[in-house]
Amino acid sequence: MGPSSEKPESYTAELVVLAGYILFFCLAVILYFIFLISFTRNLQKSPSQINSFATNLPPQTPIPSIPLNYEPGSLPIFREDFDNNQNGWTGDPDLASREFKDGKLYIESLDENSYALTSCSKCPILREPYIFTVELSTDQLTDGGFGVVFALQYTRDYFYLFRINLESKKYFLSRYYEDNWSRRMTGIADQIQPYPAVNKLSIYVNKSMVEFYINGKLIDTYQDAGTSFQSGQVGLYVNDTGFRLIADNLIIDKIEGK
């Protein structure tokens, strides 16, 4: 048998093995990239932010609950333009004076060591989520505080106060119960306009949650489990003597909660 009669050598098996190695190399590269992408994603998801105790907290930057297209007075529960005292605004006559003038209510504290609180007998006793808006200003420059009260009970020995100070641009949330004050929240809001500007204060109340707005801007929120902020009346508050608080365009609208 000469060389010309030899069968040509078959390389099929070798080619299969070679193809197998190439395929293996490709699969290994793909697997590597899948692992790399997966690892990067997990890092981005930052498991270090997971709180194993209780992270069910509201966001640090609160999101307003009221609709963007909300117009005060569009879903009225109560409206007061202060033309006269038809709604029966009352308070302790020894501690506060009230005057209706030019379609506004002027309130003054008469006792340096006490506060003046006024509410109206025809103001509704609220039980559902609502937004309460009122325009407040003072008749002179003052560092005294003023604000709105809510969850006010008939006996007036229990309420929450949202108060602002025009000079320091600070806001405060306090709870009053049987001659005891409990401070719950304080902060600074640039939205508070100095004297003689009018500041529009709004509070959106929904069960145990309150949102606080100054001149239309949400400045803070507050939650207190077990407390129904939406039960009770609203009122106006003057912290100190030496100035008169001027109130106008008080509106309470019904807004369904989330």
């Binding site: 048998m1 060389p3 030899e6 050598e9 098996a13 070798e14 299969v16 093995v17 197998g20 190695y21 293996f24 699969l27 290994a28 697997l31 899948i34 692992f35 997966s38 997990n42 998801k45 498991p47 270090s48 932010q49 997971i50 709180n51 194993s52 105790f53 209780a54 992270t55 069910n56 907290l57 509201p58 640090q60 600070k170 709870r175 119960y177 005891n180 409990s182 401070r183 719950r184 929240m185 304080t186 902060g187 600074i188 803070d220 507050y222 939650q223 207190d224 489990a225 077990g226 407390t227």
Partner: protein, 254 residues
């Protein structure tokens, strides 16, 4: 020649077979690695789903006083923060104290400005008392926080048992109306890192203060001029994080 050619073929096939077996082993290895990675990834994705968006891992352990349990258990005051009916209040301006989902949430809203959530009448004024609470934060923070005791909110005096989980350090301070005294300096302890809970306790007997972290005694100090009041609370150093407090225990006894 023929014999040589015949000899070459088996040698050649033997090499191919070896390469083929190696390839099979490599494929098997690749399959194992792929399975392991896929399993690990599944675990991760499950974990992420579990925590998103607002996880709350409930502890199956019943909250209890870890050390110095009093003989008369009726003396124990316990706050589970199911509501704020006991009126936890804010001390210092620029902050917020809330009760949300069974926890007290304390925060300062100005950097370098502290805030305290406190109760001055949680326990009666006696010379012996014990305070304990669980602490963690909503995010990892380099700022310390801690347990306040012996407080008089009118005078602005209190003890502060401070911990920093990031550096695993603790210290005891005494505030006398703005004047800080370091009673126990910066020390290292078995403080659990974020997001784990640390239980801080202080046992006070006539000026002798014992400090516990997660039930273990870490330090003691005898204050020659002790504070006589029993207000309790929690303390945050500044803004940027929220302190989460739960299971506040305290008792005092003559």
């Amino acid at each position: 020649m023929d014999t040589e050619a015949l000899k070459k073929v088996p040698k050649y096939r033997w090499g191919t077979k070896l390469a083929g077996w190696c390839l099979l082993i490599l494929y098997a290895g690749l399959c194992i690695v792929a399975s392991v990675l896929s399993f690990g990834n599944k675990d991760n994705s499950l974990q992420i789903n579990d925590v998103s968006p607002t996880p709350t891992i409930k502890s199956s352990v019943t909250p209890q006083i870890l050390v110095h349990l009093p003989e008369n258990k009726s003396l124990i005051k316990f706050e589970d923060f199911s509501s704020n009916i006991r009126n936890w209040s804010l001390y210092y301006p620029n902050g917020k104290v809330e009760v949300i989902n069974g926890k007290m949430i304390l925060q300062s809203n100005l950097s370098n400005h502290a805030a305290i959530g406190e109760r001055h009448d949680f326990i009666s004024v006696y010379e012996n008392y014990y305070v304990q609470a669980d602490f963690t934060t909503d995010i990892a923070t380099r700022l310390p926080y801690g347990l306040v005791f012996g407080m008089n909110d009118s005078l602005g005096t209190y003890y502060l048992f401070f911990i920093n989980p990031q550096t695993r350090a603790y210290y005891l301070l005494k505030n006398l109306s703005g004047e800080w005294n370091e009673l126990i300096p910066f020390s290292r302890g078995k403080i659990r890192p974020y997001p784990e809970v640390n239980t801080l306790s202080a046992y006070y007997v006539k000026g002798n203060i014992e400090l516990f972290i997660n039930g273990e005694l870490v330090a003691s100090y005898l204050d020659e001029q002790p504070l006589q009041y029993v207000g309790v609370g929690a303390y945050v150093t500044g803004s940027g994080y929220r302190l989460i407090v739960d299971n506040f225990f305290a008792y005092s006894e003559p």
